[in-house]
């Protein structure tokens, strides 16, 4: 059992949620309530990582944020590490790869709120911030929860992007899913089996927790 890899995986999952959730709530809500020019294109771009092979995504991230590119140098100045072969780079790549998993459920969650309900909140004297905190977010909560869980579960299982961008540095960028591949290549079936079972268990527990939580939330919806 590669405990360092498990730690990297869990940190990566938690970090990706921490970065994406606030952005996802803001942007998902924006897509749900606003009509603007080019919305269709924006929605398509947001969904692209879902259909793109992870290796393609990894390739473009490396090209765009490579050590010699201007964006790559900006990233290094900001974070202190180059994007390839660092945990920070991996986190960044993971955030990009998970954009559709967090945005789409959150967008659907906000879209499900009838516009009359939003208007009623305004006519009750609630400020835009109060409307968001007291009416919209509680109603869109199941969508937000789904987004977070999908992101976490997807991050744990991500393989292609991790290998392309992060490489396979123990304790740094070697996640559990990469470690499993690594052990299999070394004919260490026992270790691979233990780690695979660990990932499976984490995934099932996560999904069960979500279902239980949304059961508690959903009865509130009329």
């Amino acid at each position: 059992m590669d405990w360092a890899a498990l730690r990297v995986s869990l940190w990566l999952g938690a970090g990706t949620i921490a970065i994406l959730l606030p952005l996802g709530v803001w942007f998902g809500r924006l897509l749900a309530v606003r009509e603007f020019k080019g919305k269709l294109l924006v929605e398509a771009l947001v969904t692209v990582p879902l259909v793109l092979p992870p290796t393609v995504l990894g390739f473009y991230l490396l090209v765009t944020f490579g050590a010699r590119s201007p964006l790559g140098q900006a990233f290094e100045a900001l974070v202190g590490h180059s994007l390839p072969f660092s945990f920070q780079g991996l986190l960044f790549a993971s955030a990009i790869a998970n954009v559709p998993f967090v945005i789409q459920p959150i967008q659907r969650g906000f879209e499900a709120i009838p516009s009359d309900v939003r208007d009623a909140a305004a006519s009750c004297g609630l400020t835009p911030w109060q409307r968001f905190a007291r009416i919209e977010l509680p109603l869109a909560w199941p969508g937000v929860l789904t987004g977070a869980v999908l992101t976490f579960a997807h991050t744990l299982g991500e393989f292609g992007v991790v290998l392309m961008v992060g490489g396979n540095l123990p304790g740094q960028t070697r996640t559990l899913s990469v470690a499993i591949y690594d052990r299999m290549q070394a004919f260490d079936d026992r270790s691979a089996g233990v780690m695979a079972a660990t990932l499976l268990t984490i995934s099932v527990v996560t999904l069960m927790t979500t279902t239980a939580l949304s059961r508690r939330v959903n009865p509130h919806r009329a």
């Binding site: 009623a120 305004a122 006519s123 009416i135």
Partner: protein, 375 residues
């Protein structure tokens, strides 16, 4: 001339055409009446600040809420409006009490709960305070929405098709509730409806709307005694509307005696007590005119009238005769043949014959309560 409590002027050519101007004073009920898609709801949403027409001027008392000429626009949450939505628009994750409390942000925190409870008691939902919207019936939800709108202590109360989604008996009760509220609540009340019965039951003033344009506006009795509203004639038929008081109850005959500006009327009614204020409508088609006093008839009401106008509209078969009956004005629809045969002309004195069963009666207050118990 007092300052109008609510004055509205809206104009735009599209996407939803609008061309209306009206005022509504405290204690008045202005019914905006028109077919679906005529822009009624858009007018209410504009008053609440939820829609911004290209040219608008909206004032409530001394406050200017919208003025496109000066670029003034007060956002919806800073307008003290009570808005009741057609489909209630309750907050599904909050209890009835929570819904009402949401509208009391302008009061100190310690007062909010007790005020919300008082509002729910007002609409007789005190026992349902902890229920969520999905556990309430349609009529109950609508009453929560009404309580929520009142809890805001609005300067203007706006009702968007408040009865369209509830069943008949709930509708009756809600109408009574709103009618009694109107008396205690000294604010302008704007009611949007496509149902003429709501208009007759509740309105003191009417704005008729067609394709976003105000085609007629004024006090209900004045407007309903106009012979020249072809659209109204086609939609519901013409008929005069006036207020009357029950002066005697002939329980043995199943009749009540009504006193109005034009004299006395007999109408069939049950469960009604003397001194009740009622709203009366007499359809123009139900009135018979006679040049000599008739005898030996089954009908009860023969009134003296004088012809004010004879209105002929090429689009319609019948002719509308406008009559002064005492201080009231009535409309009678007769054939062209009858006009010629009787030689009816302006100034002529006639006998106005009305079957008692043709007198449509809408009672408020006391009778409302009686019906309520029945239901």
């Amino acid at each position: 001339m007092r300052d109008p409590a609510l004055s509205v002027s809206l104009r735009q050519s599209g996407p939803i055409p609008l061309d209306v101007e009206f005022t509504c004073h405290s204690g008045e009920v202005l019914a905006i009446f028109g077919p679906s898609g005529s822009g009624k709801t858009t007018i209410l949403r504009s008053i609440a600040g939820l829609y911004r027409p290209s040219h608008a001027s909206i004032r409530s008392g001394a406050e200017t809420w919208t003025d496109t000429d000066t670029g003034t626009f007060i956002p919806p949450h800073r307008r003290t409006v009570g808005l009741v939505f057609q489909e209630y628009a309750l907050f599904p994750h909050l209890t009835a009490l929570g819904n009402v409390m949401t509208a009391i942000g302008h009061r100190p925190r310690t007062e909010r709960r007790s005020r919300a409870e008082a509002m729910l008691n007002l609409v007789r939902l005190g026992a349902h305070a902890s229920k969520r919207p999905r556990d309430l019936s349609g009529g109950e939800r609508q009453r929560v929405a009404l309580a929520r709108a009142l809890a805001r202590e609005p300067a203007v109360l706006l009702l968007d098709e408040p009865f369209s989604a509830v069943d008949r008996s709930a509708r009756r009760r809600l109408q009574n509730e709103i009618d009694s509220l109107r008396r205690t609540l000294d604010v302008p009340l704007v009611l949007v409806t496509h149902d003429f019965e709501d208009v007759v039951r509740l309105a003191s003033h009417v704005l008729m709307l067609q394709h976003g344009r105000g085609v007629a506006c004024g006090p209900i009795s004045t407007l309903m005694s106009r012979p020249d509203l072809p659209w109204l004639r086609e939609a519901v038929g013409l008929g005069s509307v006036f207020d009357a008081t029950v002066t005697r109850v002939h329980a043995d005959r199943g009749l009540v005696e009504l006193t109005f500006g034009g004299g006395l009327l007999l109408a069939p009614a049950r469960n009604i007590v003397a001194n009740t204020a009622v709203r009366v409508r007499i359809p123009a088609r139900e009135i018979v005119l006679a040049t000599t006093a008739p005898a030996g008839l089954s009908l009860h009401n023969v009134l003296a009238g004088a012809v004010m106008a004879v209105h002929i509209d090429a689009a319609f078969e019948g002719v509308i005769v406008q009559l002064a009956v005492g201080d009231s004005v009535m409309l009678a629809e007769v054939t062209r043949d009858a006009i010629g045969r009787l030689g009816i002309g302006v100034g002529q004195r006639l006998h106005v014959l009305i079957k008692s069963v043709s007198v449509e009666l809408q009672a408020s207050d006391a009778n409302g309560a009686a019906e309520d118990n029945e239901a």
